[in-house]
């Protein structure tokens, strides 16, 4: 008993308002309604074949590392207050330190965001690494902006252990280990075909 009817080839909807019928002598407002419809305009292709026939091919961007980097959602970078794709920036989170491990009486520390999936509220993105390790850099500026922008207003600046070197070194370590793990994974699952080029590495 469904009211489903075929629209654009295979799209089904529950109800369809009857088509707007136009007379031969009707006004351009009706015949060229697309000019006044005030909706986002796109080019209609019925299916994949129609696209390919027009000469538009598949660029294979799903497997293109640069395209994936550039298409990641835009996030605001806290050092320069500028906007950039998230995958080009470094993610930093505020993690609570367990009391038994504490070397100081700080309650929180800054860690990098790789592999830490929990607590998405705490994550804010900072610019690339070299600038973080500079001596003359006042880190308090961007820490403050992270705190004010975050929902954790209750955390004081004094409660956070900020160690730039540790942060940068930890981040570097995590990056390197994830790259090595990825390469090892590729090496395990390698199916060698004729004319294939394999890049290997030594530890």
């Amino acid at each position: 008993m469904s009211n489903k009817r075929k629209l654009l080839n295979d799209i089904f909807v529950d109800k369809v308002v009857p088509k707007l019928k136009t007379n031969r002598k009707s006004s351009p407002l009706l015949t060229n309604f697309e000019k006044w419809s005030d909706k986002r305009k796109k080019l209609l292709f019925e299916n994949e074949l129609a696209l390919l026939r027009s000469g538009i091919s598949d660029f294979g961007l799903e497997k293109n590392i640069f395209a994936k980097l550039l298409s990641s959602p835009i996030r605001c970078e806290r050092m320069a207050w500028s906007r950039s794709p998230a995958d080009l920036l470094m993610q930093v989170k505020i993690n609570s330190i367990k009391a038994s491990n504490a070397l100081s009486n700080k309650k929180f520390e800054l860690i990098s965001g790789i592999g830490n999936l929990k607590g998405s509220k705490n994550a804010y993105l900072v610019n690339s690494e070299k600038l973080l390790s500079k001596k003359g850099l006042s880190h308090e500026g961007w820490i403050m902006s992270i705190l004010t922008a975050s929902s954790l207003h209750s955390i004081d600046l004094q409660d956070i252990l900020i160690d730039n070197k540790k942060l940068v070194a930890g981040y570097r370590e995590q990056l390197e280990s994830s790259i090595i793990a990825g390469l090892e994974n590729v090496a395990k699952n390698l199916i060698s075909r004729d004319h294939s080029v394999v890049l290997s590495f030594d530890e």
């Binding site: 369809v16 005030d38 909706k39 796109k42 080019l43 994949e48 027009s54 799903e62 298409s71 950039s84």
Partner: protein, 205 residues
């Protein structure tokens, strides 16, 4: 559960749904089929420029984005020394033939404004590719807008314009203590990534 009925209005040139206006006739956005090698290069470049500008209403409805797109296209066609940029990032000196890269770039933009109807059961692989094109274009225009704002607001004279648009000094890995290093590093990363993507898919974005 579906209380709002879906609307579809058909006209001669388009299908209008509740979300989009889908244009059926795309011929003015493509290049003509006959052999372009018979025409001189300047005319062909102008033909491409016209098609890029014709796609402007499809990029976005907001004026700000459309203006960013227009100034981006104008800059690319009239002012940018793409070969210099490419050389600073990749080190390659030989030029690529121009027309194929323009064709690929036009295809990229067309993909980002295309619509293929998909349902829960029928999915097209190329639709995912088009979505990535759209996201890259959106991010590209966002960063372009950032650059324009940055040049306009922080520049004493045309210092930053020279840096970002003419010399591309931000792409050079030098240890100079430039001002605004963190902002320039963000632009550096983005531009490098974009040029490397261009190398892999043959575009000139």
């Amino acid at each position: 559960m579906d209380s709002v009925p879906s609307i579809r209005i058909l006209t001669k040139n388009a299908v209008i749904t509740s979300k989009y206006t889908l244009l059926k006739n795309h011929s003015k956005y493509y290049m003509p089929n006959h052999n372009l090698k018979d025409i001189d290069e300047d005319t062909v470049v102008k033909m491409y420029y016209r098609r890029f500008i014709r796609l402007r209403p499809l990029i976005s409805r907001t004026r700000m984005v459309k203006e960013t797109y227009t100034s981006y296209i104008r800059y690319k066609f009239k002012i940018e020394n793409y070969q210099l940029k490419r050389k600073l990032v990749t080190g390659i000196e030989e030029q690529r033939p121009l027309i194929p890269t323009l064709q690929k770039s036009l295809e990229f933009i067309i993909k980002s404004v295309s619509f293929i109807p998909e349902t829960k059961t029928i999915k097209f692989k190329i639709a995912r590719d088009n979505t990535i094109c759209r996201q890259v274009l959106k991010n590209l225009l966002t960063v372009e807008y950032q650059k324009e704002n940055f040049i306009e607001k922080r520049s004493k004279g045309s210092e930053l314009y020279q840096l970002l648009r003419v010399d591309f000094n931000h792409l050079v890995n030098s240890n100079n203590n430039l001002k605004f290093t963190s902002q320039l590093k963000v632009f550096n990363d983005f531009d490098m990534c974009l040029i490397l993507m261009n190398e892999t898919i043959g575009t000139r974005l």
